[in-house]
């Protein structure tokens, strides 16, 4: 059949090779780290836009309509849609593709469903790596749809350059209870299903809530960006979809100019490195055969009121070769 390694075919623009490599990375098969090391060194330029919000708000429909607008403008656009895995069986029903109308015009398009596989922050643990694969393939935009379990899903902020929080006229209560978290993650609010009554009301509520908050110093991004736009859409009839896509473009352009785009990327990379470091340190500590038994004993002592978690962690650290020699 096709010749060459998967990576060679990937580099030549082969969609099957791309799909295969995504699975390889998602499944963390032997050699995936080496592959990622290669991809991190390749030129890339994709902008990652996340959509989060309660189930049924219309995220998939919005992703579909927005991506078709972006494609028509000549962009290469791909979608990662995450749905939950069952914590009991590990199985998942991935249904976001139902909203995707296959006929598209313009740039290249690609759609991939992902199961959350035990991760609870709204994405899968592998989403960031899969987005890197798609970025390296040459896409201009990666649109990422979260699970949408109705609570604030923080993973999206750590994986995207821009986050759209999608609400519907019925989300009034959610706005009340979630408002702190919502403003921290939203770069833009989308009130979808504006064809239904109550949309104006929630737009007004959100806008006044944002006005109030802009005076307070809360989160660095909020403090710098008092102007979080609120836009209402009807994803089915594509009302205001051009406006939404224009907002995406202008918000990204603004952030690139102000330097905030890079600040956010720096923060994400730093976070990733520290997570890997933590993981490495943990596995290394736990792999020393002595430490397992030692931790068990320490836990017993803590429960018996003879030791504490802080001293235990200090002691375990001092036993690694990372600790200063004098320890």
């Amino acid at each position: 059949m096709s010749s060459g390694t998967l990576l060679q075919r990937f580099e030549a623009g082969d969609i099957r090779a791309l799909a295969r490599i995504i699975s390889f990375v998602e499944n963390q098969e032997d050699g995936y780290r080496e592959l990622l090391s290669r991809l991190y060194r390749k030129p890339r330029h994709a902008v990652r836009i996340g959509l989060t919000g309660p189930p049924g708000a219309g995220k998939s429909t919005l992703v579909d309509s927005a991506s078709r607008k972006m494609l028509k403008a000549g962009n290469d656009v791909c979608v990662i849609a995450v749905d939950p895995s069952s914590p009991f069986t590990g199985g998942a029903l991935l249904g976001d593709r139902v909203r995707f109308k296959e006929e598209t015009q313009g740039g290249r398009h690609f759609f991939r469903s992902m199961a959350s596989r035990g991760s609870s922050g709204g994405l899968s643990g592998a989403t960031d790596n899969v987005a890197l694969v798609l970025d390296s393939f040459g896409f201009d935009f990666v649109l990422i749809e979260t699970v949408g379990v109705g609570q604030v899903e923080l993973d999206i902020v750590n994986n995207c350059d821009l986050v759209a929080v999608v609400l519907v006229p019925e989300s009034g209560d959610a706005v009340q209870t979630l408002k702190a978290g919502l403003t921290e993650i939203a770069d833009i609010f989308v009130v979808n299903k504006a064809d239904r009554s109550g949309a104006d009301r929630i737009v007004t509520d959100l806008t006044s809530m944002l006005m109030l908050r802009s005076g307070q110093k809360t989160h660095p991004t909020v403090a710098k960006n008092p102007n979080i736009p609120v836009i209402s859409t009807d994803a089915v009839h594509e009302t205001n979809l051009d406006e939404l896509v224009n907002y995406f473009d202008s918000l990204i352009a603004d952030r690139k100019e102000s330097g905030e785009f890079d600040v956010r990327r720096r923060r994400q990379v730093l976070r990733k490195v520290s997570r890997l470091l933590q993981h490495r340190f943990m596995t290394e500590t736990l792999q020393r055969s002595s430490s397992k038994a030692e931790i068990d004993r320490a836990v017993d002592s803590i429960l018996a009121g003879k030791d504490d978690p802080y001293s235990t962690a200090d002691r375990l650290f001092s036993e690694t070769n990372l600790a200063p020699q004098s320890c």
Binding site: R16, R20, G91, L93, S113, R117
Partner: protein, 145 residues
């Protein structure tokens, strides 16, 4: 390396309804059953064409495609999907399906390359066992780098 770490691998199946009939109860029951059996099921909805089904299967990198055909058009739709797979150079995705298919057609289709055709009344456990044992066993093992 002989032994790969397969712990993160899941059987991935795409379920679709080609053609014009709008009955998706049955396929949704199968989708839920396969999910509960620990698989990742991509459901693509009604009125899919052979092209969109095969394209979706490639993008989603599934091990198998399951289709439900109740309209009576099985003798055109199954072969059309097989032809599309061949056209795209795919030889390691298992095609199976179900529908109101007379025995004689079932034999023809299974000879033509449909791995298995289930007829109405097939117990769900049989379908689950089939997917578990027959789907995803012949994925090409390609060299990454």
């Amino acid at each position: 390396m002989a032994e790969k770490d397969t712990s993160n691998k899941k059987i991935r199946v795409l379920l679709a309804k080609p053609g014009l009939d709008g009955h998706d109860r049955g396929i949704k029951v199968i989708a839920t059953a396969l999910r509960d059996a620990g698989m990742e099921v991509i459901y693509t909805g009604l009125r899919q064409t052979p092209e969109t089904i095969v394209n979706a299967a490639i993008e989603e990198d599934v091990d198998g495609i399951g289709v439900s055909i109740l309209s009576g058009a099985h003798m055109t739709l199954f072969p059309a999907i097989l032809a599309q797979l061949k056209k795209q150079g795919v030889d390691d995705i298992v095609l199976f399906g179900g529908g109101i298919v007379p025995n004689e057609d079932k034999e023809k289709l299974e000879k033509a390359g449909v791995k298995k055709v289930f007829t109405p009344g097939a117990p769900i456990v049989e379908i689950i066992d089939f997917v578990r044992n027959e789907v995803g066993r012949n994925r090409a093992d390609e060299k990454i780098m």
